[in-house]
C-alpha cells in the first residue's frame, strides 16, 4: 500500500509540475521611444509638384481639336453607332489632309466604371475609331491611342445628356 501511495504521489507531483507553466510574462520594462519598426513614422516623405505636366497640347483638352469631331458611344459600349458615321467621315477627311502628322486618339468614359476596366473600355473606343478610319483607307501608322478612362469629363451634371458627352473619343494632332 505504501509503495502505491508513494508511486501515486510521485506521479502526481510529476503531472503537476508538467502543467504548471509560468504565465506569459506580460510585464515590460517601460522603454523610451522605440518606434523604429513603424516605417510610416520614421522618415519624412517627399512632395513633388508636377503641375507643369498634363497639359501637353495646350488649350482645352476635353474635346477634339484641329478640325476633328468627337465620336460618342452608348453606355458600356465600344461599337460605333450609325449616327456617328458623319463625324467619322469628317475625321477621315481631316486625317487625310493632315500631311502625315501624328494624330492622337483619346478614349473617354463616364464616371460609372471603376478601376482598370474603365480605362480598357476607353481604349476599346479609341481602337474602334482607329479601325473604322483604317477601313476607310486612312494610314493609321501615325496614329497613337491613349485612354483617359473617366479622368477627362466634359461636364459633371447628373444628367443623361451629360454622361453621354463624357463617353466619347477625341482626336487631335500631336503637338
Amino acid at each position: 500500500m505504501k509503495k502505491i501511495i508513494i508511486t501515486t504521489a510521485a506521479l502526481s507531483l510529476l503531472l503537476f509540475t508538467g502543467c504548471s507553466q509560468n504565465a506569459p510574462d506580460l510585464d515590460s520594462k517601460g522603454s523610451s521611444s522605440n518606434i523604429s519598426d513603424a516605417s510610416a513614422l520614421t522618415g519624412d516623405t517627399v512632395s513633388i509638384n508636377e503641375n507643369a505636366y498634363g497639359n501637353e497640347s495646350g488649350g482645352q483638352n476635353n474635346s477634339s481639336a484641329d478640325g476633328f469631331q468627337s465620336v460618342y458611344f452608348d453606355f458600356g459600349d465600344y461599337g460605333i453607332a450609325s449616327d456617328m458615321e458623319n463625324a467619322l467621315s469628317k475625321n477621315v477627311n481631316v486625317a487625310s489632309s493632315a500631311g502625315g502628322r501624328r494624330i492622337k486618339i483619346e478614349g473617354n468614359c463616364d464616371e460609372f466604371g471603376t478601376d482598370e476596366y474603365n480605362y480598357a473600355l476607353g481604349l476599346k473606343r479609341a481602337k474602334s475609331v482607329k479601325d473604322s478610319m483604317s477601313s476607310q483607307g486612312i494610314n493609321t501608322s501615325n496614329m497613337v491611342m491613349v485612354s483617359f478612362g473617366e479622368s477627362n469629363p466634359v461636364c459633371s451634371s447628373p444628367t443623361d445628356s451629360c454622361y453621354g458627352k463624357n463617353r466619347r473619343v477625341d482626336l487631335r494632332l500631336v503637338k
Binding site: 505504501k2 501515486t8 504521489a9 502526481s12 507531483l13 503537476f16 502543467c19 504548471s20 506569459p24 506580460l26 510585464d27 515590460s28 517601460g30 521611444s33 518606434i35 519598426d37 513603424a38 516605417s39 510610416a40 522618415g43 519624412d44 516623405t45 517627399v46 512632395s47 513633388i48 509638384n49 508636377e50 503641375n51 507643369a52 505636366y53 498634363g54 497639359n55 501637353e56 476635353n62 453606355f75 458600356g76 464616371e111 460609372f112 471603376t114 478601376d115 482598370e116 476596366y117 480605362y119 480598357a120 473600355l121 476607353g122 481604349l123 476599346k124 479609341a126 481602337k127 497613337v144 491611342m145 491613349v146 485612354s147 483617359f148 479622368s151 469629363p153 466634359v154 447628373p158 500631336v174
Partner: protein, 412 residues
C-alpha cells in the same frame, strides 16, 4: 497519507483546469477600457485608438471616453469588469508625445508601459496605431502590423488632373506626394513601403514610374500606347503584373521590376485587365469581358487555359487576391445612370466558399491587407463616401468618412 494523496490529486485537477482556462482566454477577445490622462482632451485621438482596438479583432473596447490619472494604479469600480485598462497621455506642441500604460483591471497591475515621441503633430494617428500594435503584440495576439502601414491613393482634382496621397488607414493623416498633372494607379513596390509605382500621363503615351517616397528619386520603368497600369507586384518585388496595350489591345503582361523582360500572359480580342497573383504566384486571376460582360477568370502564368472563377453576377469588374483568397466587386443593379449597388464577395481561387461581405451601397476598390485578414474598400452611400474595413475573422467593420473628391485607385 490519504489526505496527502487527495491533496496532490486536487492540485492536479486545478493545474489541468488552469491550462484550459489560458487557452480559452487566448481564443476570446479582451474586454478593454480607455482612460485619457492627457493634459487636454483629444476626442479625435481617442476615436482612433478605439477604432484600432476594434478593427484588430482582438479587443472588445468600451466606447466611453473616461478620464484618468496616468501614474495611478487605481482602477475605478465601474471598470473592474474589464480585463484591461489602457491609460494614456497625449501631449502635442511642436511634436507629439504619447505615454501608454496597460493595467490589469482587476487589481491595477501594470502589464506594459511605453512612451513614444515624434517631431511632428500630423503623424499622431500613426502613434495611436503603433501603441495598439504594441499592446496587441504584448498580449500575444496574431500580428496586426498592417495597422502601421501607409495607404497610397490617387484622386481626381479637375479634368485631367489628379494627385497622389499618402494616408494612414483611417485617413486622419493625409499628405500629397505628387501634386498636379495626371498621375494614376499607385501601387506599392516593396513590403517596406519605400517606393510605389504609378502611371504618368506627362508624355504622349502613358509611362510607368517608380518613386522613392523618402528620397524623391524617380525611375522610368516602361511606356505603352493605350493604357498602362501596375496591377500587382510579386512578394519579393522582382516581378510586376501590368495591363498594357502595346498594339492597342489591353492584355496582361508579367514584367521584371526593371522593365527589362516582358512576357504576355493573356491574349484576347476584348478586355483583360486587373491581374493579381494567386496560388504562390503560379497563376493570376483577372477581369475579362470574354463572356460578354466583366467577370473574374484565372490562368496559369505558363499555361494557356483560362478558367472562369466566379459564376455569380453579371458585372464583376474589380478583383484582389491574397494567397488563394479572392475578393471581387459585383454590380447588383442595372441602372444605366446614377447610383448602382455594388457589393463585395469573398471566394477562393477555385471559386468555392463564396460569401458576401457587404449588403448595401456602392462598394468598390476591394484590397486585402498584407496578411489577408482585412478587406479595405470604398463605400458610396447617399451623398457621402467612406473608406471601409472588414475583419474577415471577427466580422467587424469600420467606416471612415472621405472628402468629396473622387478616388481613382488605392493600395494598402
Amino acid at each position: 497519507m490519504r489526505y496527502l494523496l487527495l491533496l496532490l490529486l486536487s492540485l492536479n485537477l486545478f493545474a489541468v483546469d488552469a491550462t484550459l482556462r489560458i487557452e480559452k482566454d487566448v481564443e476570446q477577445r479582451s474586454r478593454i477600457a480607455l482612460e485619457d490622462a492627457s493634459p487636454s482632451v483629444n476626442e479625435k485621438f481617442f476615436k482612433i485608438l478605439l477604432s484600432d482596438l476594434k478593427i484588430s479583432g482582438h479587443f472588445l473596447a468600451d466606447s466611453k471616453h473616461n478620464r484618468g490619472d496616468l501614474n495611478s494604479n487605481f482602477i475605478a469600480p465601474a471598470l473592474k469588469s474589464k480585463e484591461y485598462v489602457l491609460r494614456y497621455a497625449l501631449t502635442q506642441g511642436s511634436g507629439t508625445k504619447l505615454i501608454i500604460r496597460l493595467l490589469k483591471a482587476s487589481d491595477g497591475t501594470q502589464v506594459f508601459k511605453k512612451s513614444y515621441s515624434i517631431p511632428t503633430t500630423s503623424k499622431a494617428p500613426f502613434l495611436a496605431h503603433k501603441a495598439i500594435y504594441d499592446i496587441n503584440k504584448v498580449l500575444k495576439y496574431p500580428d496586426i502590423s498592417w495597422i502601421n502601414r501607409y495607404v497610397v491613393f490617387s484622386r481626381y482634382t479637375t479634368p485631367r488632373q489628379s494627385e497622389i496621397i499618402l494616408a494612414d488607414y483611417t485617413f486622419n493623416y493625409k499628405k500629397v506626394v505628387i501634386r498636379g498633372g495626371l498621375n494614376l494607379f499607385p501601387k506599392w513596390a516593396d513590403a517596406n513601403q519605400k517606393s510605389f509605382y504609378y502611371t504618368s500621363y506627362a508624355g504622349v503615351i502613358p509611362t510607368l514610374y517608380k518613386l522613392n517616397i523618402y528620397s524623391g528619386s524617380k525611375q522610368r520603368i516602361i511606356s505603352s500606347e493605350g493604357m498602362l497600369v501596375c496591377s500587382d507586384v510579386n512578394k519579393n518585388g522582382s516581378k510586376l503584373l501590368l495591363t498594357m496595350a502595346p498594339q492597342g489591345q489591353a492584355d496582361i503582361y508579367e514584367v521584371s521590376s526593371s522593365g527589362g523582360s516582358k512576357k504576355r500572359i493573356t491574349s484576347f480580342n476584348g478586355i483583360d485587365v486587373n491581374g493579381r497573383y494567386v496560388d504562390n504566384e503560379s497563376s493570376i486571376v483577372f477581369v475579362s469581358n470574354r463572356l460578354g460582360y466583366a467577370n473574374i477568370f484565372k490562368k496559369s502564368i505558363n499555361g494557356s487555359g483560362v478558367s472562369q472563377v466566379v459564376y455569380h453576377g453579371r458585372n464583376n469588374n474589380a478583383v484582389d487576391a491574397h494567397g488563394s483568397k479572392i475578393v471581387y466587386s459585383s454590380r447588383e443593379s442595372q441602372n444605366s445612370f446614377g447610383k448602382n449597388t455594388f457589393n463585395l464577395y469573398l471566394t477562393s481561387s477555385r471559386g468555392s466558399g463564396t460569401r458576401p461581405l457587404t449588403t448595401t451601397g456602392t462598394n468598390q476598390f476591394p484590397r486585402f491587407s498584407t496578411d489577408g485578414s482585412i478587406i479595405q474598400y470604398i463605400k458610396h452611400r447617399g451623398s457621402g463616401s467612406s473608406i471601409g474595413y472588414t475583419n474577415l475573422t471577427s466580422q467587424q467593420s469600420l467606416l471612415f468618412p472621405l472628402g468629396g473628391r473622387k478616388i481613382q485607385s488605392i493600395d494598402w
